[in-house]
């Protein structure tokens, strides 16, 4: 399996007030293989969205390295256009991510013009129509405005816009969270199909664990800027090891009563990323806390079974 992206000890601290920092991402190392759909799961303040932006260098990391196709892109002064084309993003909110005063044709096509990927207007329209069809829409949408489309349709436009530049890799930041369940199904099936047809690699950011089983091959669960558990999606689902992962699994509402188990209701709130707990980030809410070691030392990610890593003193 060839690696497309590698992150080594990525940290992103946002300065806040006097000499304090919001430690949004606090030491994350992962690798994403070509043609994989890699899931990044977490709740508010986990750092998943920040991490997605850092990979694309939409935000600069405070420290650590990002490698793309073996090349360290985190140290390059200015990202060149060629590199930008290869990495794209689809945002969560289809209502604010499309320019309300631009026609669909221009929203999708402006990237093509910027990168000189078409020779003339005819070629431009042809290419845009092709991608509209690819995402299940038609040329009748070319001259419409975003407000004339539904949420699901807008998200399709956002996907077309990202893919028309022929990227290798797309960050999907909660692409279906704002959409109805039945629309979500359509968009996810579309994304899977496009991954096959266009040989894409995805980082799929979500808070919805069950979604990841349907669409991802690998998954990383984040909490307060660090990865708690990471590995093959199937393995993590069959054998969740981290107390946080287990708690999350237990509280997700399920349609099927037979699949429900005793809920581990986490007490208290998610701590502030300005003052994350010392030692293991999760110890203040952990029902399996061992003792002083959890309060003082931050556990490293350790491979507990094949392709399945956990950061927890219970397993050290």
């Amino acid at each position: 399996m060839e690696e497309l992206i590698q992150l080594k000890e990525i940290k992103k601290y946002f300065p806040w007030k006097k000499q304090k920092y919001v430690k949004a991402v606090d030491g994350v190392s992962i690798s994403v293989n070509k043609r994989d759909i890699f899931g990044l799961v977490g709740e508010s303040g986990s750092g998943k969205t920040t991490l997605g932006r850092v990979i694309l260098r939409l935000i600069e990391p405070t420290s650590g390295s990002v490698f793309f196709n073996g090349r360290e892109i985190s140290k390059i002064k200015k990202i060149d256009k060629t590199l930008r084309k290869k990495m794209q993003i689809v945002f969560q909110d289809p209502y604010s991510s499309l320019h309300p005063r631009k026609k669909i044709k221009d929203i999708i096509g402006s990237g093509l013009r910027t990168h000189h990927m078409v020779k003339n207007e005819v070629e431009l329209i042809e290419k845009i129509e092709r991608f509209l069809n690819l995402v299940g829409m038609g040329k009748e949408h070319l001259y419409r405005y975003p407000h004339e489309l539904s949420g699901g349709q807008r998200q399709r436009i956002a996907i077309a816009r990202a893919l028309i530049l022929n990227p290798e890799f797309v960050v999907l930041d909660e692409p279906t969270s704002s959409l109805d369940v039945s629309v979500q199904a359509e968009i996810l099936n579309l994304l899977k199909k496009l991954r096959e047809e266009l040989n894409l690699t995805y980082i799929f950011i979500t808070h919805d664990l069950f979604l990841t089983r349907i669409i991802t091959e690998k998954i990383a669960i984040m909490y307060l800027g660090k990865i708690m558990e990471y590995g093959d999606t199937e393995r993590v689902f069959r054998n969740p090891m981290h107390p946080y992962t287990r708690a999350l699994f237990s509280v997700i509402p399920r349609l099927d009563a037979k699949m429900r188990s005793k809920k581990i209701i986490l007490q208290g709130e998610i701590p502030s990323p300005v003052n994350p707990p010392l030692g293991c980030r999760f110890h203040t809410r952990c029902i399996n806390k061992i003792g002083a070691v959890c309060e003082k030392t931050s556990p490293d990610l350790k491979e507990i079974e094949d392709n399945h890593f956990v950061a927890c003193h219970l397993y050290h």
């Binding site: 709740e43 109805d180 369940v181 997700i252 399920r254 349609l255 986490l266 998610i270």
Partner: protein, 324 residues
């Protein structure tokens, strides 16, 4: 055990008169909620679930208009009641409501305790001292740690989950007969959602409060509610006990919705073809027919009525017309 009817909505029709045309938001909705029940009203965008809740409280705003129907609460038709009467004795007292963004409903310049205090004093003949004591009790009942401290704080200092619990405390202060919760946990993280839903369920059991939960998440309804009503494009399409509707769903839309929900066991999501209709020009007859694999000619011509398909399980679909 005989179930006592608390709220009955009959043939409710609501239109919104917009510049684009008349949005036929509610197309004759029927709903019955029993005392002490935890009822889930579920549906996707535009189905009319929030409008139904607003109608109960007579809060349908211009350009919306309640065209016809009855809303019978504790034996009286709320739609025929004097608006002052509803404001004084019903809304905020017998029927209260919590919504998706608690911070939008809490006054940002009044501390949390004061807001609950205000609700108590406005609705009961109670001294300020007694009200202060009751406020702290209420905050404890909703599992807020350090209630005296939280009472002195302001809404912006509360996280989403805490703010929602303060809202619940406020909305329960008058010991209402019915609490309407409109997407109360949609904006909250899963681990916090679990806390708030467990709290609501406990409150139903302890205080015999009846709760109408409005949500787009059928899984949440499955876990917390006793009975459920499924809405689609302004119509109630199926109602029944939760295990009836989820384990033996009868309406094609309900089945479609269930198949589209990601679960531990599903390896793929099945789509419902087509999309939600424009309610300015809704489909004729059964509003779901353009997306239904079982649509017949009659489905385009007439609106199906709710039929009792098994005890307490109702469905509005011509597939079941002859199977009474």
């Amino acid at each position: 055990m005989v179930q006592e009817l608390l709220l009955e909505i009959k043939d409710l029709e609501v239109n919104f008169y917009t510049y684009r045309g008349v949005v036929k938001a509610l197309n004759g909705v029927n709903l019955r909620i029993n005392k002490g029940e935890f009822f889930g009203l579920v549906g996707e965008t535009g189905c009319g679930k929030s409008v139904t809740a607003s109608a109960v409280l007579n809060l349908v705003q211009n350009p919306g208009k309640i065209e016809k129907g009855e809303i019978i609460f504790q034996g009286m038709d709320l739609l025929k009641m004097d608006k002052e009467e509803i404001r004084k004795n019903v809304r905020g007292k017998e029927i209260t409501m919590i919504m998706q963004y608690p911070n939008a409903a809490l006054n940002p310049v009044v501390n949390n305790g004061e807001q609950i205090l205000e609700a108590l004093i406005a609705n009961k003949k109670i001294s300020k001292e007694a009200a202060k004591k009751r406020t702290i009790e209420l905050l404890k009942e909703v599992n807020i740690p350090e209630p005296e401290k939280i009472a002195r704080q302001y809404p912006h200092q509360l996280s989403g989950g805490m703010a929602q619990r303060v809202m619940i405390a406020m909305m329960l202060s008058t010991k209402p007969a019915l609490l309407i919760a409109d997407e109360p946990t949609t904006a909250l993280d899963v681990s916090i959602q679990a806390q708030v839903l467990t709290l609501l369920k406990d409150l139903v059991e302890k205080n015999q409060t009846t709760i109408l939960l409005i949500t787009h998440d059928l899984s949440v309804v499955a876990e917390t509610c006793d009975r459920v009503g499924v809405m689609y494009a302004g119509d109630m399409v199926e109602t029944g006990k939760v295990d009836q509707v989820i384990n033996s769903a009868k309406h094609p839309y309900t089945k479609g919705l269930i198949n589209a929900i990601p679960s531990e066991r599903s390896k793929e999501l099945v789509e419902i073809r087509g999309s939600v209709p424009d309610l300015v020009e809704p489909p004729t007859g059964c509003r779901f027919h353009p997306r239904c694999d079982y649509a017949k000619t009659i489905c385009k011509r007439r609106k199906p009525q709710m039929l009792e398909i098994e005890r307490n399980h109702f469905v509005a679909c011509f597939l079941y017309e002859n199977k009474k």
